[in-house]
């Protein structure tokens, strides 16, 4: 079984978000990029576990991005995986990203495509379902548990107001969240090994973006907290009713 894990570089979670050029660009100055936590902690680690248990033969990592995405995909390789692929394309539009991944995956014979439930920068949660559609695969979103026996996957996942366990035969695309695996810390051996592992750079397929970001905005700043005495909860309830109008 061959697994393709989709890896998205994102700004570190402590990043103070700022914009430049009249709020049209996200300023990357001083920003550290990390592997999207859902991709790293859950999708990648589960893929590695499946390889370690003998269920998977190959684990490939793929990222869609320009050269500045390489340090992040190297970091992912340090955790494990056999080879990495970087599709040399812009990653600003969800459809374009998904189509680039699907275009590459088509020829790779992958049985399982694992993704994170969403990227913590653009929060779309859309690439997985799009890739599945473009590859004519089933898609199971928000997985909390993934088991593979032969060519059948058993997946427990979040649904509206609960959880569901499904079985489905491969090939399959799954988006991962908490529960799927436990985060790992890369070790020295992995980091050294990653240096010599193949990182394939693939030219972009001719795919047009269908959206463009034309501007950004920061949420309005809070005007200041109103402190209420701890023994006067009637006052808090009153304010929530008459001033905030939320109850």
């Amino acid at each position: 079984m061959k697994i393709l894990v989709c890896i998205c570089p994102v700004p570190d979670t402590t990043t103070k978000v700022a914009f430049s050029d009249n709020n049209t660009h996200f300023s990357t100055q001083g920003v550290t990029f990390i592997i999207n936590p859902y991709d790293e902690w859950y999708a990648l680690v589960r893929a590695l576990e499946l390889k370690e248990s003998g269920a998977a033969t190959d684990v490939h990592l793929i990222t869609v991005g320009k050269a500045d995405a390489e340090p992040v995909i190297r970091k992912a390789l340090a955790l494990g995986g056999d080879e990495a692929i970087r599709i040399d394309a812009d990653s600003n539009d969800t459809y374009a990203v998904a189509a680039q991944i699907a275009e590459y995956a088509k020829t790779g014979g992958y049985d399982l495509v694992l993704l994170g439930k969403e990227s913590i920068d653009y929060n779309n949660g859309s690439v997985g379902a799009m890739v599945a559609e473009l590859l004519d695969m089933n898609y199971l979103g928000f997985a909390a548990k993934i088991d593979i026996a032969g060519t059948t996957a058993t997946v427990t996942r979040e649904i509206e107001g609960g959880e569901e366990t499904d079985t489905c035969s491969l090939p399959l695309a799954i988006s991962c969240q908490k529960g799927v695996a436990e985060a790992r810390i890369p070790n020295m051996r992995g980091i050294m090994a990653a240096r010599t592992k193949p990182l394939k750079v693939v030219p972009a397929a001719a795919i047009d973006a269908l959206t463009t970001i034309v501007g950004y905005e920061l949420p309005p700043a809070k005007t200041g907290v109103k402190m209420i005495a701890a023994d006067n909860m009637d006052e808090l309830v009153n304010l929530l009713h008459t001033e905030a109008k939320v109850i």
């Binding site: 969800t94 929060n123 779309n124 949660g125 379902a129 979103g141 907290v225 402190m227 304010l239 939320v246």
Partner: protein, 324 residues
């Protein structure tokens, strides 16, 4: 031409967020001079579908196939594609929830349509088709221009208040040419969270952090949540320690929520936590440390011990409810 909207129901009763999505679609239809067609699946009565007219739907296309009772992204995609072709839809709306996030991207990919996921505004047609959405897990918004002919949007639930108007929708049967592969996912087990309000849809949320000290103290938050009709949430360390189910963890690496009221108890307000909740309309922070960073992001603050303050707040809510 029409604006197509996928609606969800629980045992025949349409969800409030679906009514919100219809109303959202109706606003787009109005500004583009088109009409709204809702797409409903499964076991739901004609009267419930006709009643969607009061929220702006002119027509409801209904597909009944027992196999649709369990949600499945492939089959639902086929339903939406069939409806989109029948109606020559130019705009397709879904919800930014587990159903919408699995179907709408598939529909968008199939139709080669640009997607805005997690919209929090109506499209601005003055500058193209520009929709505001959440980015950086609530730390900012982006304005996305959709340049394709067909546009697909998932609406963040609880963005607009739902207002009931007048009108009745016509109901039409939608025939869909399913194939076996559309139903190749087998459902083995469904575990619905019992009774409580689902977190993603909740208008009121009571949330606890490490300051609650342990799962044995959670009853004070549950009592308050019950009194308010609120959902419960928690910080990441609480989820990691298995004090609470993992689905309750909010923040940059958990759920992103934007309820009307978020009550944070014993949570310090780390940047990663704020990222998931700072879209909340009103934030109340209860913490015993005056220096807790969360107070800076709060509208109302209470300095005190959770185990003393929360039961008092619950009593106050009870009293308030008795008088209103």
């Amino acid at each position: 031409m029409s604006v197509l909207v996928l609606v969800e129901h629980t045992q025949g009763i349409f969800k409030k967020k679906s009514l919100e999505a219809i109303q959202y679609a109706a606003n787009i239809a109005k500004s583009t001079g088109t009409t709204v067609t809702a797409v409903a699946t499964g076991n739901v009565g004609d009267d419930a579908m006709q009643a969607l007219g009061a929220y702006g739907a002119q027509k409801v296309l209904h597909t009944t196939d027992g196999r649709l009772d369990n949600f499945n992204s492939r089959a639902y995609t086929k339903v939406m594609i069939t409806a989109a072709q029948k109606e020559s839809a130019k705009v397709i709306v879904g919800l930014h929830d587990t159903v919408g996030k699995a179907v709408t991207p598939r529909v968008a990919a199939r139709l080669k349509a640009g997607l805005v996921a997690g919209a929090v505004s109506y499209p601005d047609l003055g500058k193209g088709f520009v929709v505001k959405k959440n980015v950086f897990s609530g730390k900012a918004f982006a304005f996305v221009n959709v340049t394709s002919d067909i546009k697909v949007i998932t609406l963040m639930p609880n963005t607009y208040p739902v207002v009931k108007g007048e009108g009745t929708a016509t109901v039409e049967k939608l025939d869909v040419a399913f194939e076996d592969k559309d139903f190749s996912v087998q459902v083995k087990d469904v575990a619905k969270a019992s009774g409580s309000v689902p977190l993603s849809e909740a208008e009121l949320v009571v949330s606890g952090g490490r300051g609650m000290k342990g799962p044995e103290n959670w009853y004070v938050l549950e009592d308050l949540a019950k009194e308010l009709g609120a959902a419960t949430a928690c910080s990441r360390p609480v989820g990691d320690s298995h004090w609470r189910p993992h689905g309750e963890h909010v923040g940059q690496t958990g759920g992103t929520i934007r309820p009307n009221l978020y009550i944070a108890v014993g949570i310090s307000g780390a940047i990663q936590h704020l990222a998931g909740v700072n879209g909340s309309k009103t934030i109340v922070v209860i913490n015993k440390d005056p220096e807790a960073p969360f107070f800076k992001a709060a509208d109302y603050g209470v300095l005190g011990d959770a185990m003393e303050v929360v039961p008092r707040l619950t009593e106050a809510v009870k009293k308030f409810k008795a008088n209103h």
